[in-house]
Subunit: 136 residues, 2 copies
DNA sequence: ATAGCTGCAAATGCTTTGCAAGGCC
DNA sequence: GGCCTTGCAAAGCATTTGCAGCTAT
């Protein structure tokens, strides 16, 4: 999912979130570039390095609001922290253990050719594939 | 990975962990049946329902020791809790959101037909696939 | 004006740890 | 006996929440 001409303000308006100073700073960092993977902590650091002064609680709240609004996707790769991905399209991930870093895998690079049967009354809400890489 | 004739005592001896009352109770619950998925909490409840009285701290420590010893595998499906799987072979999972339950998918039911390139100096330490199911 | 946001500090929930007492070889 | 284990309570982390004050519309 690309948002090549999007800007922070438009993102917020699209999902009816007030464009506050804090949310604008966060949205700018997240959506001006593509395929970003952040945790609350890494984003907090980035924001504050720009001098934007946003509290960690607000970072958490904003990441959750953005996720609920469909601007972000949560990625579960590590039980100790929550990653968020600005790429909300269908794709998978490589997780680099030592670097604690995530990288996207396009749907062409990794293909799932069969899925299990879906039980009555259920539906598949997502398929998460994580290739774990570590130093050789 | 099947351990059809295994018993709790043998498991512990195999990995050189002293067969204490607590570890035996836990191993019995985990390895007498196949393909069990537990969290520290669910296991704690089960153990205590049998009247075995094992502290939660010991459950945590034991699960970690078993995992380190290769008797269990950690499954990352939910950022709020850690699941452990007695099936240590290559396979994948279905996670049922409402039930907070895990189910194995055999390698035949879900096939990955292409993997991304492995960078220099790295290796794939595991591929985790979780199909998330929820009520329709 | 007022509903919505933010920040702080406190609370939460899962997991780990320090240490004294007890158990296994 | 001596080392390993256990249990408790306390500590640790990541994350959430209550609430008083501030802000966007």
């Amino acid at each position: 999912m690309n948002r090549p001409y999007s800007n922070a303000l438009k993102c917020l308006q699209d999902v009816s979130l007030r464009p506050t100073r804090q949310r604008l700073a966060i949205a700018k960092l997240l959506f001006d570039e593509e395929d970003r993977h952040v945790t609350a902590e890494t984003l907090h650091q980035e924001v504050n390095e720009l001098g934007a002064k946003v509290s960690l609680a607000t970072i958490y709240n904003t990441l959750n609001q953005f996720t609920e609004a469909g601007l972000l996707k949560e990625v579960i790769v590590d039980s100790n922290r929550t990653y968020f991905d600005t790429n909300i399209g269908d794709h998978h991930h490589i997780y680099f253990k030592e670097e604690e870093a995530l990288k996207d895998i396009s749907s062409e690079e990794l293909v799932i050719s069969a899925l299990p049967e879906v039980p009555e009354g259920k539906k598949i809400s997502g398929v998460s594939v994580v290739v774990h890489m570590e130093d050789d």
